[in-house]
């Protein structure tokens, strides 16, 4: 790692001031992505501003048919929260599938969506549930937030404070995890909620996306057969040593079916 100065922010406004005063500073939350990046010398921040312990950024609550989760809330806390398990069990299940216990004990919701790894799990839920990302400056809708591989609508130094998830009637997440890393080769979040029937796919392509053909077909007829033979655009599918485009597209189809079955089995 290159040298940097570590500062523990005392509050959100303190973090904001520290970031503003140091243009080459970076936010540190759980560090599960940033520390490995620093170790590989892929980034050289002047300062790390640690927001991981800020109580203003933590917590889980239900407010007006929305589940509101602070950006620095750890994956473990989402996975095990009685509130999440009751109101949005699919999100608790998604969080339980991230990485491994040690990663879930440190990694946070805000860090995951700010990083927007194309194989990360949370972006699928954020998009399928039409969540709102609340930052220190504004509110951003999920469809504007994710902008392709590792890119988001966040401006330099903008801080994700919390995420508001619309609580759906029912929802499910299914992922085909890479056997070594645990990241999604394809992960599909299906939600039946206020924004209609939504199908968000992560892992398969260069960024999380909505499979609109599946959404339309399922809106007409909410059953398994509706998914048969639907087109799925291969242009942006990832292709690497782990899987071809076609294989990933097939995984996305299979995960969509599994998520649908899982969702339909709920009351």
């Amino acid at each position: 790692m290159f040298q940097f100065n570590y500062v523990k922010a005392k509050s959100l406004s303190d973090a904001q001031a520290l970031i503003a005063a140091n243009p080459d500073a970076k936010l540190l939350s759980g560090g599960m992505t940033l520390i490995p990046t620093l170790k590989q010398r892929l980034a050289q921040p002047s300062h790390l501003v640690d927001i991981g312990g800020l109580s203003e950024l933590r917590g889980i609550e239900v407010n007006d048919a929305q589940l509101v989760i602070g950006a620095a809330t750890r994956h473990h806390d989402v996975a095990t929260s009685p509130v999440v398990k009751k109101t949005l069990p699919a999100l608790a299940s998604l969080a339980y599938q991230i990485g491994d216990p040690q990663v879930r004990n440190r990694g946070t919701l805000g860090g995951s969506i700010a990083n927007n790894d194309p194989a990360a799990d949370y972006p699928a839920a954020v998009l399928a549930l039409d969540a709102t990302i609340v930052t220190n400056k504004r509110e951003i809708g999920a469809s504007d937030f994710f902008q392709g591989m590792f890119a988001t609508a966040l401006e330099e130094g903008e801080i994700v404070v919390r995420v508001r998830f619309n609580i759906p009637k029912r929802a499910a997440y299914e992922k085909f995890a890479h056997p070594a890393s645990g990241y999604a080769m394809a992960g599909v979040f299906v939600a039946d909620g206020s924004a209609g029937l939504r199908v968000a796919v992560t892992g398969a392509a260069s960024g999380v996306f909505r499979w609109s053909e599946a959404e339309q077909a399922l809106t007409k007829k909410l059953n398994f057969a509706a998914l048969e033979g639907l087109p799925l655009d291969l242009t942006n599918m990832n292709e690497d040593i782990h899987a071809t485009r076609e294989y990933r597209a097939n995984l996305a189809r299979v995960m969509t079916k599994r998520a649908l079955l899982n969702m339909l089995a709920q009351k």
Partner: protein
């Protein structure tokens, strides 16, 4: 450089560390607690697992300054004097190690896991061990040791 206090295995230490120093390096090089191993240094293998405020973390993926003020337990602090911790005892009983390199991390991960989940199913055990790799025992005896630990802890 930053001056930090760490409580490790019940003793509070004060040390001046580089901001970029990893917790695992401070444990091993400053405090000579070399029971915590570095297997991969890339957050994959779990050899470096310790408890920070009661939760299992990979100490190769945490800065020592992030742990300032925290209560840390390493493999050296798990037993009660000469009396082995139930997970240590179970590893001995079930022959859950061969070279032993992964063992400290396995034991720290499992002892934390069983606190959350005292009566795990097989699937929960596999899921709970996701963060730890063993390159020689194979996992059969390690899984046996988790079950035995759960019994011993009753």
């Amino acid at each position: 450089m930053t001056k930090i206090e760490l409580t490790v295995n019940g003793t509070t230490h004060s040390r001046e560390v580089e901001d970029r120093a990893l917790l695992v390096d401070v444990l091993r090089d400053h405090l000579q607690l070399t029971g915590t191993h570095i297997g991969c240094d890339t957050s994959q293998c779990g050899c470096c697992t310790v408890h920070v405020d009661g939760r299992a973390v990979k100490s190769c993926t945490m800065l020592a300054v992030q742990a300032a003020g925290a209560d840390i337990v390493t493999i050296e602090g798990l037993s009660n004097g000469d009396q082995l911790h139930p997970v240590q005892q179970a590893f001995t009983d079930c022959h859950a190690l061969q070279c032993g390199f992964c063992t400290p991390g396995m034991i720290m991960a499992i002892s934390a896991f069983l606190k959350d989940n005292p009566h795990p199913t097989d699937d929960e055990i596999y899921h709970g061990l996701e963060g730890n790799l063993c390159r020689c025992t194979g996992y059969i005896n390690i899984v046996k040791a988790v079950k035995r630990s759960a019994k011993l802890m009753k």
